[in-house]
Symmetry: C2
Subunit: 490 residues, 2 copies
């Protein structure tokens, strides 16, 4: 039905895309930890998976797309220690952890909505699956890969590695994985420094904790995604994705957990979306090199000279392949704004083309095949966008009388460009923008009409000046002649 090939992080190769279940794709993507405003880099990741989701739907697949919300903070570093960021934020803002979760889940949803991403089919939360996580841990212990120490449960990486390969996704060698052995709380409980926590004992001060067979505690970083992906997608599913920073340890630990549960467990394709930098440097709150989506959309930031609407940001993100690093800069945003406008106008103008008996200089079916070839090559959106510009370039030549197009081809081009633009790339934000633009333009147009009317009056052409007032009145706009100026109201 198609010729999609995808880059599999697990094999490091492009592979032909096939599914476990005919016509049905099971996809799991690691979602955000909701303890602060959603990061622009995360937005890029979720737009990348939105493109993958949209394209699979476009190809005719039914897609069960599961993206979790981590609402009990996974721990900040690989050694499974440090403070839970949700609890930390709750203390800082003097509210409850679940109020932190609610606040930033709303922020996350709102920004992804503005960026025109389609919500996933299921959006499970970590706290909503504590029982499932406990069951999973119990099975791992039963299978001999988990051990209990002092109310916590750890995964025995060394034992697992005897018959399987730990670190195969990130291609790390277990011997290289000996950690900096800072002495951290709980670190001493582990048999080996590479082991990771499945369940952590909560001390009496810990706010987010649940009863378990091992006492009160909370799940480890990697437990939730294994529990939720297997609950909703089974132990064999097609796609597992996330940001590139999750490859290790998160995804490698997930693989170990799944295989420890069931040696037949398998994710067919691992996809990893690359980073976003700001002015050439890693984004980081601590260095101040960071801008929030809301600040970018409103213009309220120190990096850019003006606001850039969500569709311009989305268009910029799609101009790099999802596996490449993308840099956010004023230059790139301005170019994106200009390019998007050109593309929008170009697509709109196709409907205005005068048709001829035949088409000259452009093979629409060949062009359409190139569009699919771009997307079939591991979702290559920059190539697809280049193809859309090719089509617009041709259409503009017809508009200027330099080329010809048949009626059939015109209709085909109109339909196809709009499908690729709106459905596949998700750039159908035209209406919202138009309304904002309209409001400004209406003011300016009315100012012009008032000028014309004043001129008519000074020329004693009362016929025209009265007509302007009366006609505006009919459509609901009232002109008020004050002493020195005319104002309008609607």
């Amino acid at each position: 039905m198609h010729n999609l090939s995808v880059f599999n992080s697990l094999t490091g190769k492009k592979e032909k895309f096939t599914t476990f279940h005919k016509d049905l794709v099971h996809m799991y993507v690691c979602g955000p930890t909701v303890y602060s405003n959603v990061h622009l880099g995360n937005c890029r990741t979720f737009i990348s998976f939105d493109i993958i989701y949209r394209y699979l739907l476009h190809l005719g697949y039914k897609v069960k797309y599961v993206r979790n919300i981590t609402d009990v903070g996974h721990l900040e570093n690989d050694s499974d220690d440090g403070e839970d960021p949700i609890i930390k934020k709750a203390k800082k803002e003097n509210i409850e952890p679940m109020e932190v979760v609610q606040k930033y889940t709303i922020d996350f949803h709102e920004n992804l909505r503005k960026l025109n991403t389609i919500p996933p089919s299921i959006e499970p939360t970590a706290t909503g699956h504590i029982l499932e996580q406990i069951e999973l841990i119990e099975k791992i212990i039963k299978n001999g890969f988990g051990y209990i120490r002092n109310g916590s449960v750890y995964f025995d990486v060394i034992k697992f590695n005897k018959n399987s390969t730990y670190g195969k996704l990130s291609r790390r060698n277990l011997d290289d994985l000996v950690h900096n052995s800072r002495t951290l709380d709980g670190q001493n409980d582990k048999l080996n420094p590479q082991d990771f926590a499945l369940w952590k004992k909560a001390d009496s001060k810990h706010i987010m904790k649940w009863k378990s067979p091992w006492g009160e505690g909370f799940p480890g970083w990697h437990t939730e995604c294994s529990a939720m992906s297997m609950k909703y997608l089974g132990n064999k599913f097609d796609i597992h994705g996330g940001g590139i920073d999750l490859k290790f340890p998160h995804h490698d630990c997930e693989i170990a957990q799944s295989e420890a549960l069931n040696e037949n467990s398998k994710v067919k394709y691992w996809f990893h979306a690359n980073m976003l930098t700001l002015n050439g440097k890693k984004m980081s709150k601590s260095t101040g090199n960071s801008v929030l989506p809301g600040e970018l959309f409103s213009g309220d930031n120190n990096f850019f000279s003006k606001p850039y609407p969500p569709n311009v940001v989305r268009f910029l993100f799609l101009q790099a392949h999802y596996r490449s690093i993308l840099d956010l800069s004023e230059e790139a945003l301005m170019a994106s704004e200009k390019g998007l406008k050109k593309l929008e106008i170009g697509i709109k103008n196709i409907s205005k083309l005068k048709t001829s008996k035949s088409t000259s200089g452009f093979d629409i079916s060949k062009w359409e095949m190139s569009c699919y070839k771009a997307m079939n090559d591991d979702f290559n959106t920059p190539l697809l966008i280049a193809e859309l510009f090719n089509a617009i370039h041709y259409s503009n030549s017809v508009l200027m009388g330099k080329e010809k197009i048949s009626k059939k081809d015109k209709n085909l081009l109109m339909k196809k460009t709009s499908i690729f633009f709106s459905q596949v790339l998700g750039l159908n934000l035209l209406v919202d923008n138009k309304n904002i633009v309209s409001d400004k333009l209406l003011g300016k147009t009315l100012d012009l009409l008032i000028k014309i009317r004043n001129k008519s009056r000074s020329n004693r052409d009362f016929d025209t000046s009265d007509k302007i007032r009366d006609e505006l009145n009919k459509i609901g706009i009232t002109l008020n002649d004050n002493e020195d100026e005319t104002t309008y109201e609607y």
Copy 2:
């Protein structure tokens, strides 16, 4: 600090509002069961509690507002039997229960966002609190008010009623509560027909089920709200609210559960929002007398002649007291639209008033006190709206030169009307509507300009006709003169 009195459904009286914790209100509202598009009646309920939430915030309280999402279907009738509506819908749509939940949670959030309600501080889900519900049931059993039968757990109403009062919220007498004794599945397990399920055994075909000390099953209808309200607000909290249809059995069962857990449990005020009817009759999907929020906003329905935007609907809802039945009809919607426009323009016009040395005929502090008196009388929004119209009436008299206003009073009136309109009533939707309106008006205004230009051209007044084209060009609107007509583009 204020003089708020509220109607307490539990006592059937208006009472002075005081809180357990100074300056802090703990409020729990029963949220939706997400197995279908949100009902307009539910929207009215949540707007009612939005008003209560907003007013408490306005009075300076910190409010912890918890509103749950029921994502494991409570059972459809009082006898705790029948099919879980979420599972039923999942079978019908051939998707998973959690996909049903996601679809209708999004619908719910989207409609409440359009209706300008503020999200609650915490929005817990029933499936996210299975462990807490199991713990609660264990305690009720331990306290002697729950019994296990055949994998299910029931609440012993007769035993509870010996030292407490079952049905005190709805004022039902236990003797009157003998149910129609249809023989239903599981009914025979109960000691008394009035008993209700805390936990239900799941048969092997049941999709949504969890492990428990009593075998695989799922929580009863009333268990989740007790577990979640007590988890986030403690066993004594200030306000518990919901739709009036939840008074019995849901809220009476919640009271019984809480008191069975801890005899000191107490909700200080019970609030119940009244029904919405459609053209004088109960809304009901089965009789066809039903319209969805989206259908009302888009005009895509068989009941009304045109679309009514969310702010008009919200304004209509606020024109009845939350404890009165409100009828939705074309007449009421049209009146609401007209009234809202009048109020919006009126408030906008205050800024245009010419000021005098003194104010005649209107005592602003007295008026402000009347506004607070309205809201302090159990959140009487219709009275507050009437007071806003009084203020506008006066302001319009000043505008027409019939009354006078001082600069100080003008500023005060501008500030106060806008606070009551936007902050207290939550009617700050002006900008969105304006944009939609602008787009239509811009088209009509441009049509008029083109007419004027054509007239100038036929009068050989090329100075004017060129000016129109050039000035429009400057603001980004291009006129295209075709053979028979002039079109515009922007």
